[in-house]
């Protein structure tokens, strides 16, 4: 007898529908899975057999063939287990005919017959060609995010069989846990002093400008960076779904409500490989840290310690907001639109901030500076020098402004940018700068002076104007960009000689 069951597999961050065909016929008892299964997929035979036996269900003593259609596409993961088990039962006549019609199955089986959640549930449920999808209870909140499909959460294979036979109703979905307010994360009020760095952080959050922090060890660069997500507004519905999809495929823990509502913060170690950062892998294509930071913050600490080739791989996502990973097994596109925040020491000894204070040799400094390629440094709109705070600021001193107050201003600026139709201020196209960021007379004079003195290039000018737009928005000056705004933008400018060699 033949049974066909609907399920899906993950490719990149998308799901692909798969039809599981099970054929049971007379012949030597045996069990074959065909249709390009990977190792985890092929092993499903043993899991399915044990799960059936543990659930007091019969295992056919006949020749059983499982085909995963379309058979030309490589299947990976254990998410087809449940579909195969149901298929075997149906083909063997242990389920009423057509019991599984219009029902899709996504889940991994335990040897005891329990049904487990699999990574990428959102993408899988979205891809299954059936109006009703059976998933593990643990994956129910995630699966229900999609909407438009009936979700049947189950704990075990026995639940599924009972419901398909009509002996028991489908189990009720577990009540959604109360959506507790998401953890606000570390607060900006903890940062003492650092007025310029705090300001740069606010500008970066408000305008979506990539930020480079330069400073000696222990100055608080990491502390500042971890407070950036707290300044960003909640994700919109569409963004939240995109982010949740990536996190689900990557196997990250999702919040209780299923949807990722807060901008993610990812800080990969500087030893990370290229595929770990931008995605890839040989057997199946996994999203990298850059994609996990989609609509959030990607923080690269010790930027100069990253392998230069790894950093250069970030140039495509910084440009296009997505990463195309091409392998022999296929091409996947991962979303990767993130706010890049990087931190680095000014030189190998770390003390090279104030002129004349560095102990490094010229050669060591030059070598250190060469580790950061010009094209990458070119992507940073903002650069801020983070000095060690004075002891007085650390011990006494007023606590800084709390994140909530800053976040309110940031949300205001972001709303303004959305009204103008540019997404963020960092994305204002050059052609619309004159319209959206006009210069006041004083600001124009400052810019003209800087251009004449050669301290500002044409490309640098565009960037300075975008940053000045954000600064003016933060100050509530929605019209022309003033002299003060442009001067502050010049202060926060990332000049090409970031790790300036002495001379």
């Amino acid at each position: 007898m033949l049974a066909t069951i609907e399920s899906a597999v993950v490719f990149g961050v998308e799901g692909r529908p798969v039809t599981v065909e099970v054929h049971v016929s007379n012949g030597l008892p045996g069990f074959t899975v065909v249709g390009l299964p990977d190792t985890a997929c092929r092993e499903s035979r043993d899991r399915v057999r044990s799960a059936l036996l543990s659930s007091s269900l019969p295992w056919p003593q006949k020749k059983t063939t499982v085909n995963l259609a379309p058979s030309g596409v490589r299947k990976q993961g254990a998410g087809l287990d449940l579909a195969i088990a149901v298929g075997v039962l149906a083909a063997n006549g242990d389920l009423p005919p057509d019991a599984a019609a219009g029902v899709g199955f996504v889940g991994e089986l335990g040897l005891d017959g329990s049904v487990r959640a699999v990574p990428g549930t959102i993408a899988l449920v979205d891809a299954v060609r059936a109006p009703c999808v059976v998933v593990a209870t643990a994956a129910a909140p995630e699966a229900m995010v999609i909407g438009g499909r009936a979700i049947r959460p189950v704990r075990s294979l026995a639940d599924v069989v009972a419901a398909l036979r009509g002996e028991a109703p489908w189990p009720e979905p577990p009540p959604l846990p109360p959506t507790a307010p998401p953890d606000p994360g570390p607060d900006l009020a903890d940062v003492r002093g650092q007025r310029v760095a705090r300001f740069a952080l606010e500008v970066a959050a408000a305008g979506g400008h990539h930020l480079l922090m330069v400073g000696p060890p222990g100055a608080g660069k990491t502390m500042l960076a971890t407070r950036l997500p707290g300044l960003l507004p909640d994700l919109g519905d569409r963004e939240a779904l995109e982010v949740t999809r990536v996190h689900s495929v990557a196997g990250l823990r999702l919040p209780a409500g299923g949807l990722v509502r807060r901008p993610p913060f990812r800080s990969p170690h500087h030893g990370s490989s290229g595929p770990a950062l931008v995605g890839g892998g040989s057997s199946w294509l996994r999203p990298g840290e850059a994609s996990m930071a989609h609509h959030g913050v990607l923080f690269l600490d010790e930027l100069a310690e990253f392998a230069p080739s790894v950093l250069d791989a970030l140039r495509q996502p910084l440009e296009e907001g997505s990463i195309r990973v091409c392998r022999a097994s296929g091409t996947a596109t991962f979303p990767a639109r993130f706010l890049l925040v990087a931190a680095t020491n000014p030189c190998p000894c770390g003390d090279g901030g104030p002129p004349g204070a560095c102990r490094c040799s010229d050669r060591a400094r030059a070598r250190y500076g060469r580790r950061l390629s010009g094209p990458l440094l070119d992507r940073f709109d903002l650069r801020v020098d983070v000095g060690r705070p004075a002891s007085g600021e650390l011990l006494g001193g007023d606590p800084g402004e709390p994140s909530a107050a800053v976040a309110a201003r940031v949300a205001g600026v972001r709303a303004l940018a959305a009204e103008r139709g540019t997404g963020t201020n960092a994305a204002i196209p050059v052609g619309r700068l004159d319209e959206l960021a006009p210069l006041s007379a004083g600001a124009a004079a400052v810019v003209a002076g800087a251009l004449r003195a050669g301290s500002l290039t044409a490309r640098g000018l565009h960037r300075v104007r975008r940053v000045a737009r954000t600064i003016a928005d933060l100050a509530g000056r929605a019209e022309a960009v003033g002299e003060e705004d442009i001067c502050l933008a010049l202060q926060l400018r990332a000049d090409p000689e970031v790790l300036g060699a002495a001379a």
């Binding site: 002093g193 650092q194 007025r195 310029v196 760095a197 300001f199 330069v214 000014p346 901030g353 104030p354 002129p355 004349g356 204070a357 560095c358 010229d362 650069r383 801020v384 020098d385 000095g387 400052v446 002076g449 800087a450 003195a453 100050a475 002299e483 003060e484 705004d485 001067c487 502050l488 010049l490 202060q491 000049d495 000689e497 970031v498 790790l499 300036g500 002495a502 001379a503």
Partner: protein
């Protein structure tokens, strides 16, 4: 053939032999002329240790003296030797003189009173500006400014000397062959000094930069100078080698005082504490040279930019500071301070490098 080549050609060839330092070259030349010395080197008859002698024989076979001399002549490089015309006057009684000097440009610029202006490569903007000013004022007063064409203070002093209209031309002593520009960033300055003043080296053509050659070069700078001025230096470093060499040669050493917390001035302040003369400006240096000068102090002659610019300059002082520190000292928001800083930088009052502001005047 050999009779047509002048003695300097043989000298240059001898200096190109491996392991031929100034002391050894002096010994070799003590009792024979360069041409004879070269012939003996070729046949291993110079009476030096056997393995060295063998190396010289091997090396001498590779050297075509005629072609080597042609290279010197086409590059406009002269070879000076002690006792002959063009040998710098101050090196006649040097305790450790070079055995020969390669020279581009006009070594006669060293006949004027010579002042070495030296300092660290990792200098502050204030130090660089002072070195420039000293170089310019000294050159205008007819002094030959001698330095090492390194980055930082050296280069600033040379640039200053070259900038003085109608001033005396500077001289430089470098630690590489005259055809190896080091640091490469100074190529333009290197050529300017060679064209308008004098460029000297005791190393043969093709000698690359090596760590130990620079302290050796510094002794020549100290030897050439009548007075040595240290603008900025840490307590260790090349400038301190120059100072030691200068003291061995009884040269007057002057030091420019700096902020006590600045690493770049730690060495000069230590020199002052140890009794060096104070160099505030070119006048102090001219007095140390024993030249009669009309005093023209710069203190008090500079009027500030006025208004909020004065306040910011006061808050800045003479040590590097960041925007944040300035706003903190003034107790104002960042924006207005940023505006004033941009104006001050435009008008040349301050210089900014990677977020740090330094006062220039």
């Amino acid at each position: 053939m050999s009779g047509q080549l002048p003695p300097p050609a043989w000298l240059a060839a001898l200096a190109s032999l491996p392991g031929m330092g100034p002391a050894r070259l002096r010994t070799v030349l003590s009792d024979r002329d360069p041409e004879a010395a070269w012939d003996q080197a070729r046949f291993g008859a110079l009476g030096v240790a056997e393995d060295l002698s063998r190396r010289w024989v091997m090396a001498a076979r590779q050297i075509d003296v005629e072609a080597l001399w042609a290279r010197h002549q086409s590059a406009g490089i002269r070879v000076l030797s002690p006792g002959l015309a063009g040998w710098p006057r101050n090196l006649h009684d040097d305790p450790e003189p070079p055995a020969l000097l390669f020279a581009r440009g006009d070594p006669a610029v060293l006949d004027r009173p010579c002042v070495a202006v030296v300092g660290t490569r990792r200098c502050t903007a204030a130090g660089r500006s002072l070195a420039h000013e000293l170089g310019s004022d000294l050159a205008a007063a007819g002094i030959c400014v001698v330095s090492g064409l390194a980055l930082g203070i050296d280069a600033a002093a040379h640039r200053g000397a070259l900038s003085a209209a109608g001033g005396a031309a500077p001289a430089a002593v470098v630690g590489t062959g005259l055809d190896v520009v080091y640091p490469a960033r100074n190529r333009e300055l290197w050529d300017l000094v060679a064209d308008r003043g004098g460029l000297l080296s005791e190393y043969p053509l093709g000698t690359g930069p090596e760590r130990w050659r620079f302290p050796a070069r510094n002794r020549i700078i100290a030897g050439l100078a009548d007075v040595v001025v240290v603008v900025e230096s840490d307590v260790t470093g090349g400038s301190m080698h120059t100072v030691e060499a200068a003291l061995e040669r009884d040269r007057t050493v002057l030091a420019v005082p700096g902020p006590v917390r600045s690493r770049a001035s730690a060495g000069t302040n230590a020199l002052l504490a140890a009794g060096s003369l104070l160099a505030r400006d070119a006048t102090d240096v001219l007095v140390a040279l024993g030249l009669d000068v009309a005093s023209r102090s710069r203190v008090g002659t500079v009027t500030g930019p006025g208004g909020s610019g004065d306040q910011v300059l006061d808050a800045l002082g003479w040590e590097p500071a960041t925007l944040e520190q300035l706003a903190e000292r003034l107790g104002t928001p960042l924006g207005p301070v940023a505006v004033v800083l941009v104006e001050l930088e435009r008008d040349g009052w301050v210089a900014q490098r990677s977020g740090w502001y330094e006062r220039l005047r």
